[in-house]
C-alpha cells in the first residue's frame, strides 16, 4: 500500500462503505460521548421512530454544561441557573435510563467535562473514531484518535446506527519546529498558531500537529493543542501516539490490561504518518518565537504576544471587535485591568493546569477587586488537586474553588461575568457575549491567568515564576 498519513490510516480503518461521487462514505464510530445540551432532541427522535441505540456499550454520557459549580445545600438541592437547566439534566438522566446509556451523573465519582473524562477513563484510545455533539471533541485527537464534533441530527444517526455519513476532509500538517522557550506552554502555542493561520485557516481540514515541539509536550498539553483545532475551523486535530501517550494511558480503567495491553500498544505504534505520505497543505511554525500569548479581539484568531502592540483594525468587523474589547491599537494587552479570572474548561482544567496556576499563586493574594474562579475539569481532577492541597492555595489567594463543570467557559449554568467586565480566561472562545452578555474575554494560559489575577491586570507569568524561584 502506498504511503499514508495518520489521518488516512484512521479513516480507512473505519470505512463501512466507501464514498462515491454521489454518496458520502459510511464511517463507523467507536465511541460516542453524550452530554445534556445536544442530546435531548436526538433521544426524542429515536423515541418517535421507535428506534434503540445500536451499541449502547459504545456510548458514554456525562453532565457538564448546564450544571451548577456550587455544591448542593443540606437538602441535596443544587443551585441550577433556572428551571430549564434543571429539567435538561433530569431529561438526560431519564434518557440514559430508558436507552441503557452509561451516565456519569451527580452520583458518579468520575463525572466531569466530557472531554476531560473520556481520556481519564481510558475510554479515549489511539486509533478510534470518537464523536460528540460538541465541537471540542477535537481534544481526543491528542491520542491519535479521529475525533470531531457533530450536530444533534448526527447524534441521532450515531445512536441508531453507530455510523455517520462523511465526506473525506483534507489534511493540513502543522510542523512545530524547535522548542518552546522556558515558561511558555501549550496554550501560548495554540493561540500563536491560530493567530498565524487564522480562525478559518483549518476549514475543511483535519490538522496533524507534528515536529519536535509537539513530541516534547505532555498529554495534558497535547489535549490543550488539539482542543483548539476547531478554533482554526478544523474538524479535528491529531497527534501521533507515542511512548508519552502509552505511558499516560496505561492502567486506566477502560484500556486493555496485561497481554492485551501489549498487543494494543504494538498496533498503536503503527499509527504514524508514513515517510513520503503527503498532506493537502503544510504550515511551519517556529516554536522558539512563541511568547505568552493572549487574544485582543472577539475570535481566537485575534491573538498576539501580550507585549506586542494590538494591530490596527483592517476591516469594519475588526473595528467593531476592538471597540467591543476596548482594545487600543498600538498598545499591548499587557497591563490591561482585569475584573474576573477564570481557570477551567476542557482546554485547561486538568491537574497540570491547576498546578501551573497554583505555582504562581502560592503564598500570594489576588489583587483587590478581582474575582477568580477555579473550576476543575472533573471529579478526579478535583480529588487529585485537593490531595495536593491546591484548593487551599487557591482559596488562600482569594479565589473560589468549585465543583467540576463547563462553568464560565460557556456561561450557561449561572457562572458569568457582568456586561463590560474583562475576563482573563483559560477557555477557548472569546466570542461576544460568550461569558455573559457584554463580557469581554481574553484567552490565556493558566499561568497568565494566575499572574493576571495577582497583578489585577494582564501580566507576564514569567516575572512571577522568577520571583518565586529567587525568594
Amino acid at each position: 500500500m502506498s504511503a499514508r498519513t495518520l489521518f488516512e490510516k484512521l479513516w480507512d480503518a473505519h470505512v463501512v462503505a466507501p464514498e462515491t461521487a454521489d454518496t458520502p462514505a459510511i464511517l463507523y464510530i467507536d465511541l460516542h460521548l453524550v452530554h445534556e445540551v445536544t442530546s435531548p432532541q436526538a433521544f426524542s427522535e429515536l423515541r418517535e421512530r421507535g428506534l434503540k441505540l445500536r451499541r449502547p456499550d459504545r456510548a458514554l454520557a456525562t453532565l457538564d454544561h448546564s450544571t451548577p459549580t456550587l455544591p448542593a445545600n443540606d437538602k441535596g438541592e443544587r443551585p441550577y441557573a433556572n428551571e430549564e437547566a434543571k429539567a435538561q439534566v433530569a431529561q438526560l438522566e431519564a434518557n440514559c435510563r430508558e436507552f441503557g446509556v452509561e451516565l456519569h451523573g451527580w452520583d458518579s465519582s468520575e463525572r466531569g467535562i466530557v472531554h476531560v473524562i473520556g481520556p481519564e477513563l481510558g475510554a479515549t484510545q489511539p486509533g478510534m473514531t470518537i464523536v460528540c455533539g460538541d465541537s471540542h471533541t477535537s481534544t481526543h485527537g491528542a491520542f491519535g484518535a479521529l475525533a470531531f464534533g457533530i450536530g444533534t441530527t448526527e447524534v441521532g444517526h450515531v445512536m441508531a446506527t453507530q455510523c455517520l455519513l462523511q465526506r473525506k476532509p483534507k489534511t493540513l500538517a502543522i510542523h512545530v519546529d524547535g522548542q518552546l522557550p522556558k515558561g511558555i506552554g501549550a496554550k501560548d502555542l495554540i493561540l500563536h498558531i491560530i493567530g498565524e493561520i487564522g480562525v478559518d485557516g483549518g476549514t475543511g481540514h483535519v490538522i496533524e500537529y507534528r515536529g519536535e515541539a509537539i513530541e516534547a509536550l505532555s498529554m495534558d498539553e497535547r489535549m490543550t493543542v488539539c482542543n483548539m483545532s476547531i478554533e482554526a475551523g478544523a474538524r479535528a486535530g491529531l497527534i501521533a501516539p507515542d511512548d508519552t501517550t502509552f505511558a499516560w494511558l496505561k492502567g486506566r480503567p477502560r484500556v486493555p490490561q496485561g497481554a492485551a495491553w501489549d498487543a494494543a500498544v504494538a498496533k498503536w505504534r503503527a499509527l504514524r504518518t508514513d515517510a513520503g505520505a503527503s498532506y493537502d497543505r503544510e504550515v511551519r511554525i517556529d516554536a522558539s518565537k512563541v511568547k505568552p500569548t493572549v487574544t485582543y479581539g472577539t475570535h481566537p484568531g485575534m491573538a498576539i504576544a501580550m507585549d506586542a502592540p494590538v494591530p490596527a483594525a483592517r476591516s469594519a468587523q475588526e473595528t467593531r471587535a476592538l471597540d467591543y474589547m476596548r482594545a487600543q491599537p498600538g498598545k499591548p494587552m499587557q497591563g490591561t485591568p482585569v475584573d474576573v479570572v477564570f481557570i477551567g474548561s476542557c482546554t485547561n482544567s486538568r491537574l497540570s493546569d491547576l498546578r501551573e496556576a497554583a505555582a504562581i499563586l502560592r503564598g500570594r493574594r489576588i489583587a483587590e477587586g478581582v474575582r477568580m474562579l477555579v473550576v476543575p475539569g472533573s471529579e478526579a481532577v478535583r480529588r487529585d488537586a485537593e490531595r495536593e492541597g491546591l484548593h487551599q492555595v487557591f482559596t488562600a489567594a482569594g479565589a473560589e474553588w468549585r465543583v467540576p463543570g463547563c462553568s464560565m467557559c460557556i456561561a450557561m449554568n449561572g457562572d458569568l461575568a457582568q456586561p463590560g467586565q474583562l475576563v482573563v480566561s483559560t477557555s477557548n472562545r472569546n466570542f461576544e457575549g460568550r461569558q455573559g452578555k457584554g463580557a469581554r474575554t481574553v484567552l490565556a494560559s493558566p499561568a497568565t491567568a494566575a499572574a493576571s489575577a495577582l497583578a489585577g491586570s494582564i501580566a507576564d507569568p514569567r516575572e512571577y515564576v522568577n520571583e518565586a524561584a529567587a525568594a
Binding site: V16, A17, A21, D22, T23, P24, I26, Y28, V37, T38, P40, Q41, S44, E45, R49, R54, H65, S66, A81, E84, A85, A87, Q88, Q91, D134, S135, G149, I150, G151, T152, T153, E154, H157, A160, T161, Q162, C163, L165, R167, P169, V199, D200, T203, G204, G233, R235, H299, G301, A316, Q317, R320, I410, A411, M412, R429, F431, E432, G433, R434, K437
Partner: protein, 194 residues
Amino acid sequence: MKAVTRIHSRTAVLADENIDTDRIIPARFLTTTERAGLGKLCFNDWRYLPDGSDNPAFPLNQPQAKGCAILVAGRNFGCGSSREHAPWALLDFGIQAVLCSEIADIFRNNALKNGLLAIVVSDAEHRWLLDHPGTELSIDVEGQYIALPDGGRIPFQLEPFARHCLLNGVDQLGYLLQHDDAIAHYEQHLEQAA
C-alpha cells in the same frame, strides 16, 4: 425533512465576518430540550436592546430586511460551536438560505441536514451580493444556480448527496438504516480483529 427545490426572495445582508454560533443563538438559551420556537432568540444579543425592544442598528431589523428568506453573510459564517440550535433558530426566524464565500464546516453540515441551504459562492460574487442588499434572487437547487434579476446566473456546488436529499426530502437516518447489513458485517470484522 421537507424537500427544498427552489427559494425565491430578496436578500438581507449581515456583512460581519466570522459570525459565530454564539451570536446566532447565545449559549444561555441552549437549556431547551426542543427544536421548535428558537426563531425569537435568533441573533438575540444583537437584535434586541437591553430593554427588549428592537435594536435599530441590527441590519435585519430594517424594514427592507423584513421577510427576507435569503441571508448574505460575511466570510466564515457559523464558526464556533456544533450546536444545531443555530440552523434551527435561523429557519424558525424565516431564513431559508445563507450565501457566503466560506461557511464553517459543522454549521454547513447541520444546516443542510435541516433543509437550510448553506451555499458557498466565489469571492467576487460574494462581494457583489454584500454590496447589493435587497436583490431579488431565485435559488435553483436542481440546477445549482442562483438567478439574478438581470437574467445572470451564479453557479454553485452542493455536495451531491446533500443535494439529492434536499431535492427529494430524503431522510438521511432512513438511508443509513438501510445499510444495516454492511454495518453488522463491519462490526463482525472488528470483533474478529480484537
